[in-house]
């Protein structure tokens, strides 16, 4: 089996996880910028983080013959501080030139506030100016339905944004339809407690079809499983899905979306 892990926060994981993912058939890892579990005190913290994502982490992955790509942003959990967010937005363009950067992400909303929305719009504007792919984080739990609707409204209001170049992540049963129907890609995140389990993820895929959907583990410093995608592939096989269908979902689909950026090259 081969698969692409399109969303993993490897800065929070051990080297053993890189090895396990490689052994499980991982062909590439993509790492969006996210919240560290605490608020960074200044733009300098983000500068160092972006260096880690674009320089150090690719070297760590390369030790296991794993291509590593990244996405850049200030995450919505820190977007309430508008001054800090503007400062971070100001340093992103210089990092967009780095060879492993795929786009702007994971941007989006957390508690669905006016400040978060304003910074989301600023990120979308930045992506449009630099012709970047966009990876969107939708809010957690009770805030997801509202946040997804607000995010779709913002994206659809910007005529420069092409839906096929945007993936909206962490969809669940109550949001996957609205995302796909609007022409965007949908990401299903596999978590032990929140988001989706392997069984529910496959249920959604079986109902929506193999169209523009990818699976990801979004492993980070919380409860999460870096092997969630291959585990879900095994679950698909248990249900009788063909090897071709599984490959289409866990390898072909992320390859198709990510290859819209010519930097996404697999050896």
């Amino acid at each position: 089996m081969r698969y692409i892990e399109p969303h993993a926060h490897m800065v929070s994981r051990t080297t053993d996880d890189y090895e396990a993912m490689r052994l499980a058939g991982c062909a590439a890892i993509c790492e969006p910028a996210f919240w560290a579990g605490f608020d960074r005190s200044s733009v300098h913290g983000f500068y160092d983080y972006f260096c880690q994502l674009t320089d150090y982490e690719p070297k760590r992955a390369a030790k296991f013959a794993l291509p590593h790509f990244s996405w850049l942003c200030i995450n919505p959990k820190e977007s309430e501080d508008m001054g800090l967010a503007r400062d971070v937005l100001g340093i992103i363009p210089e990092f967009l030139k780095r060879p492993n950067v795929l786009g702007i992400g994971e941007i989006g909303l957390n508690k669905n506030t006016r400040n978060e929305l304003e910074i989301l719009q600023a990120h979308i504007d930045l992506a449009a100016q630099h012709d970047q792919l966009i990876l969107v984080h939708t809010p957690h739990l009770e805030d997801k339905f509202k946040g997804t609707r607000l995010i779709l409204d913002v994206l659809k209001a910007d005529s420069r944004i092409r839906p096929e170049r945007v993936i909206i992540d962490h969809v669940e049963e109550h949001t996957v339809g609205m995302v796909l129907d609007a022409g965007f890609w949908a990401g299903i995140t596999l978590y032990p407690e929140s988001k989706a389990t392997p069984a529910r993820a496959i249920d959604m895929v079986e109902q929506a079809g193999l169209r523009n959907i990818w699976l990801n583990c979004a492993c980070d410093w919380g409860r999460s499983d870096p092997l969630a995608v291959p585990r879900t592939a095994v679950e698909m096989a248990r249900r009788g899905h063909s090897a071709e269908a599984i490959d289409h979902l866990v390898y072909g689909n992320p390859l198709r979306f990510l290859s819209q950026n010519p930097r996404f090259q697999l050896a």
Binding site: N112, N115, D143, F145, L150, E172, E173, H174, A199, R238
Partner: protein, 89 residues
Amino acid sequence: MTRQQVLDLYFMDARCKLIELAAFLDRLDRSEGAPDFRFEAFRGALAALSSAPSERAKAVLMSLSDPTLEPLDAAPGKGACGAWPGRQV
């Protein structure tokens, strides 16, 4: 999959989760103190589960979700708790 195959694959797992759910409700009954909004939201979700003729996962998720569309003026915190406090059952 046939219905038989679904049952063969998932019945024991669903049975386990159903008993965990029942035990959680019993545990709540034995506990002291006033329940908060999450308890009412949970009861609402159980009602949604029972009454929805199909798409039960979606119905449960919707019963726990904020249905409004107006952005908040300020974030009340960073985390989410799994139920929307504004819903009165």
